[in-house]
Symmetry: C2
Subunit: 427 residues, 2 copies
């Protein structure tokens, strides 16, 4: 009984996490009901006969969660069926020439060789990524046509069968495409777009938490391990395969919303890869923080040095967090990024930290803090790269010019050329 | 022309990288040829009729690269067909009760609801992992039976059709299983086993390269970035999804080689997760090394301190590399690990490094080196965890006792209880 309640709660949560899943389930039901109308409407049934089961089969197999997935599978299925059907009929004509005894043998050889070659082609990464399903359907259709043509003597009958089957498959694909692109469509491209932005936001919230809770005044009794911001970047670490499959599907999608047919999906993968890189550095910083927590080295240091280092670190984290949030907003709103107004502050804080750490000699009790600061700089080093890749994305995807007012910045932007001065301003 | 040559080279490389791919392609061809014999042997064809196409269809769709994949798909297909067929016939019987006009309507409602519910169930992670294909086939078969039963009036005819279809599917599945488990089988479990071991070896070769080329005497004119050992651990970073899918398939595989039916595949995922953790720390160390290379801080240090730190780091890296290699060998040979003989040396070197770094004050020019040493310690911290998880694996999987002679070790193992002494020995 408890298990049933647990399952019900789980199911409810899955639906609540993303209500599009519920919608998708009903869409599949709808598409299937639509396609089974063929059976119930007598004139249609009479013209297609039992081939109508191919329409049902197609709907079940082709209908995917994202519009790109459905389109990719639908087109793969349609073209693979056409190509393999034509090749199958051709193979049948060649086999006939070899006489009644040789025919099945020759057909068997054809099927064997084609199936082996096509199966091998699925190991080629480019084919695997975009045409895997097409190759399966190619093997399937070729085998079916080549094998069953042996039993269907009449050429006219064969052609009619081929026509019926192809048109039912086309109808199935059409029903799927209509349902998945017109009724609450789930675009893989949009999901990828949002995923990249939300990954940047996750990195930002780690840095924000670090700045405010770890370096900030709030450092208190709780252990660091219990803070949830420390795990914010966690899902970024393993985002690679999900992003790649979304990018693969997005390429199939037609123009929708702000995304054209040739939207630079590959650039999203670049931004994603750099975000992962940044998350790796965060992981190193995080494990340093949690493993050195008990020693509480900070507390033993001379107060003024401690204060200077932590306040610089705090500034760095918070400015970086803001920069990442801006970049995420750039992606979300699809506006060209304003010249990153946090860059100056970040560069200044980094320089200041270097100056602080290059004092003639460092008390060894401060080493842990110095290491932590250095790990933080490594995280910070990733930000300009991410910013550059987002700018490239903005260019490639022709984000619209940002016309909104700049928010007030602490430092006048004319000082951009003389970063040395900025340090003085900040001290 | 150049493109064709390029493609040919690529195809050749894919085949050479893993010759099992070529074998698999021919196995698919063979299975298809075997199953199409139904068409050519008249008595068989006469008893099954056109239902024989379902055997061909099954082979094309069920045959997977790994034995576990084929088994999982085959069993999913068989049981889903049985269950959905029975439910479909039941639904038909209920629908009949509602009269000739109500029947198609009621059947449509059934199809709609069942398809929606089953589609939704695919979002539950446990079902997605193991029964995704089964759910698809369930929807497919239920729809086909429910929809087409409306046109097949005769109950006897319906039963015969169901029997024919089920038996052809079972034959297709049987052909697939026989080909994929008896002819050069590719076991997902074995692949997972080897992948986990080779990941540990990759981590080991990074540390070995670090010890010998970076800390060793060979530090010379070449830039660090060009060294290939620095990228050895790279494929470990993104190994998660591949490992999880292999572990999912491995669970379906019957006893083979040293792997029983209930082999602890989940423990491999744990070892894999810890290896990834270690690779993240390596990434942090690596980016520190490459980004601070130009400053060449080492060169400016007082020679004796520099020598002491680098030689300790060298020792740590090399001992850790040996420990990882031993763990990989433990997995490969499936023998219980001897009490890790490198643990002592690693612990000693770590302590020594701590002593070196806790001198009263550190010249700030040494800071980069200190940070690097500390990053290395973070990598080293992962090793005991990996060792523990491998030991747990050895216990769970009942690895055989190691009876081989221990290789000569530098330090006598009696010193294990007094690690303090070891430091003296090493100095």
């Amino acid at each position: 009984m408890a298990k049933v309640v647990g399952l019900a709660k789980k199911v409810k949560k899955i639906g609540e996490d993303d209500p599009r899943r519920v919608v998708h389930s009903f869409k599949v039901g709808l598409a299937l009901s639509l396609v089974s109308l063929y059976y119930y409407i007598s004139p249609l049934f009479n013209s297609f006969g039992t081939s109508a089961i191919w329409a049902v089969l197609t709907v079940v197999v082709v209908m995917e969660y994202t519009a790109g997935g459905t389109l990719s599978k639908g087109l793969n299925r349609t073209f693979a069926t056409l190509l393999a059907g034509a090749l199958g009929v051709g193979a049948h004509q060649i086999a006939i020439l070899s006489g009644e005894k040789g025919e099945p043998f020759l057909l068997g050889v054809f099927v064997f060789l084609l199936a082996a070659a096509a199966t091998f082609s699925r190991f080629i990464p480019e084919i695997k990524a975009s045409y895997d399903y097409g190759v399966t359907i190619f093997i399937l259709t070729f085998s079916l046509v080549a094998v069953s043509s042996d039993r269907t003597v009449d050429a006219y009958e064969l052609l009619q069968l081929a026509y019926q089957r192809f048109s039912t498959i086309a109808i199935g694909v059409a029903v799927c495409l209509l349902t998945s692109t017109f009724i609450c469509p789930v675009w893989a491209g949009e999901d990828l777009h949002k995923l990249v932005a939300s990954n940047l936001e996750k990195l930002a919230s780690f840095l924000e938490g670090l700045g405010e809770e770890y370096f900030g005044e709030k450092v208190g009794g709780e252990t660091m391990e219990s803070k949830c911001f420390l795990r914010a970047y966690n899902s970024v670490l393993n985002s690679k395969s999900n992003m790649e499959s979304l990018a693969n599907l997005a390429r199939w999608e037609p123009r929708h919303g702000h995304f054209g047919f040739l939207h630079p999906w590959k650039q999203y993968l670049k931004v994603g890869a750099l975000s992962r890189q940044c998350a790796y550095s965060m992981e190193a910083l995080m494990s340093h923080i949690t493993s050195n927590e008990r020693t509480q080295v900070c507390a033993k240091m001379k107060p003024e040095i401690r204060k200077m280092i932590t306040s610089t670190c705090k500034e760095m984290s918070i400015e970086c967090s803001k920069a990442l949030k801006d970049l995420a907003a750039t992606i979300r709103t699809m506006t060209t990024p304003a010249v990153c107004r946090h860059n100056i502050a970040i560069a200044a804080a980094t320089t200041k930290l270097k100056v602080l750490l290059s004092e003639e000699s460092i008390p060894s009790k401060m080493l842990e803090t110095a290491i932590m600061a250095s790990l933080l700089s490594q995280v910070v080093q990733c930000i300009p790269q991410i910013a550059a890749s987002v700018e490239e994305l903005a260019q490639l995807a022709k984000f619209k010019e940002c016309k909104t007012l700049h928010k007030a910045t602490v430092k006048p932007s004319t000082e951009e050329e003389s970063p040395g001065v900025v340090i003085n301003v900040m001290e």
